[in-house]
Amino acid sequence: MTFYPAAAPPDGDRRTAKQKIAAYLEPWLYSAPVLILIVAIMLVPLALGISYAFRDIRLLNPFSGAFVGLKHFRELAGDGAFRGALVNTLWWTFSSVILQFLFGLILALLLNRPFRGRALAQALCFLPWAVPSFLSGLDWAWMFNPVVGPIPHWLYALGILSEPSNILSDPETAMWGPIVANVWWGIPFFAITMLAALQAIPKDLYEAAEIDGAGPIERFRSITVPFLAPTMAISILLRTVWIANFADLIIVMTNGGPADRTQIVASYIFTQAFRRLDFGYASAIALVLLVLLLAYSMLIVVLRQTMLTRH
């Protein structure tokens, strides 16, 4: 007598190896151009830039290129302009972000309430975002210029300035120029993201709260704020990094001056690379900035974790 084993169930997939590989590779084929571009044009220069930080690379000196170890970093430690730039970066970043955020939030709240002509008002308020950043910088530089701009005359009339002078040429006040331009240009970013978050809050929550007897302030505190909080947190954090790196306005409006009082680290890197053509030193500064930003991001992640575990 012979026993036959029970028929094994047929296998589900009998495609040839070639077909399987093709199916596996399909998404990679679609993504390949993006990946190649990013690796070749962002990651390779990034790695090169990191290596430059340890080499003597000056564009005008054909004999440069030698490995110099930590020389740039030792120089950096004694570089007063760099330390000034660090302080300026903090000042520039946090005042820009806070003002952009506050005014953006208020604008979003104003636009969140229906009124006639809202679409138009919204488009006009968001328009500065469309203005190229270099042009925003130039425009505001002209606005601050007493020859063609009204602002010095207004400030003089208000008694804030003793004479209609250019605040951009006064070391004490110069930083306010780029900050004002940045706030003007960046309010729409926060207003748009906050408005989207506001409109995502279910309306019946407010109705329920109103029926439960909550006043407008209580409703704002107990519904609006908690719903907006995640969007606020993420956009502020990301925007902080972005603005710390954003040198266009400063380069256009003051070029770091007067007396380096508006020089931030990002513009300092650009000045070292573009004006002094000292690529090695510029890359060393850039590496420090990268490490600082990474540290900031890590700090945020850790803070978020501890907040999450506490709740």
């Binding site: 169930p9 047929p10 296998d11 589900g12 997939d13 009998r14 495609r15 077909q19």
Partner: protein, 355 residues
């Protein structure tokens, strides 16, 4: 038209198994409904027949031809989606003719086929409209029309009526049945609605947890549910279940009442069982007598045609469906009797039907 054979089909998403060893044969022209709660694997099985999901193990044949490795476009099947999946940028006519155009059908033939399908579904005045300009019911019809213009080997329906309101759903249900009678195409229909399953199916496949629980014609599933799951799933209002043990030839419920064991059922002394009684099989009787129970009425839900009466009995909330109006008042006592030959008994351990 074609037969569909599903043999030892398994499916896992990553490491999560969703279908276990499914076997099913669908005859040419048959209307089979896959029914079960959401997550039971019914849609996944349908999408595997369509070719939209990979087959982890096992084999699907259409007309005897293995189709595991065949692309959806070459399987010659049509599918009606829950979302209808009408192409928003095409008119109704273009939606219906898209598949024929892809097959390079001659223009006159396309016009003819679209015209015929539109006529059958009453879509003639809508042919030049975009899906956006149609009501839910009209969109549903277009989705059906798109399927029938092709004369495919089989129709697959993925919960096609769940986005319609109740009245329209009833109407379309009848229409689908009429259409199937007219065309006689092999159809596989997925739904979570047991009424749709009962009314439409030649055969119902009840699924739960990735396993086929019972296959049979609708009345079989209603009359002789194979296990507790099918018993509870088919029928509305749902079957009452009472837990008990076999004690000296009768079933003693947990609150001490006794139910006579229906004929033809052998129970071991002490065996844990669940007794199932459909609400429509609980009779209201005039007075207390042998084999009747007395209970206090808890809640009365008139449905128009009949009335659902809730009573506290046998240690639980027991539902009674009666066609008599005014048979019960809340708070009043009620005498009821259970039809012995309409009781279902299930083994509590295996959940399977006994007898």
């Amino acid at each position: 038209m074609a037969s569909i054979t599903i043999q030892s089909i398994t499916k896992t998403f990553g490491t999560v198994p969703v279908l276990h060893d499914i076997d099913l044969s669908i005859a040419d022209g048959e209307f089979v409904v896959l029914v079960g709660p959401s997550g039971c694997g019914k849609s996944t099985l349908l999408r595997m027949i369509a070719g939209l999901e990979d087959i982890t193990g096992g084999e699907i044949r259409i007309d005897g031809r293995r189709i595991n490795e065949v692309a959806p476009k070459d399987r010659d099947i049509a599918m009606v989606f829950q979302s209808y999946a009408l192409y928003p940028h095409m008119t109704v006519a273009d939606n219906m003719s898209y598949s024929l155009k892809l097959r390079k059908t001659a223009r006159e033939r396309i016009a003819e086929a679209v015209g015929a399908a539109a006529g059958k579904l009453g879509l003639d005045p809508l042919l030049e409209r975009r899906p956006k300009a149609l009501s839910g019911g009209q969109r549903q019809r277009v989705a059906m029309g798109r399927a029938i213009v092709r004369h495919p080997k089989a129709f697959l329906f993925d919960e096609p009526l769940s986005n319609l309101d109740a009245r329209l759903r009833e109407q379309m249900r009848a229409e689908i049945k009429r259409l199937h009678k007219a065309i006689g195409a092999t159809s596989v229909y997925v739904t979570h609605d047991q009424i749709e399953a009962m009314t439409l199916a030649d055969r119902i496949v009840a699924m739960h947890g990735g396993i086929i629980q019972q296959v049979g014609n609708p009345l079989d599933l209603y009359d002789r549910p194979a296990n507790l799951f099918v018993a509870g799933f088919i029928g509305s209002p749902a079957m009452n279940f009472v837990d008990g043990h076999c004690r000296s030839g009768a079933i003693e419920t947990d609150d001490g009442s006794r139910i006579a064991v229906p004929g033809g059922i052998d129970l071991a002394e002490g065996q844990a069982v669940t007794v199932g009684i459909r609400p429509e099989h609980v009779r209201i009787v005039a007075g207390s007598g042998a084999g009747s129970y007395t209970a206090r009425v808890d809640l009365v839900e008139p449905t128009g045609f009949g009335t659902i009466v809730h009573v506290r009995l046998l240690g639980q909330d027991l539902k009674i469906y009666t066609l008599e109006r005014g048979a019960a008042e809340v708070g009043e006592p009620l005498h009821i009797a259970l039809d012995g030959d309409r009781l279902h008994v299930f083994d509590r351990e295996t959940t399977n039907r006994i007898g």
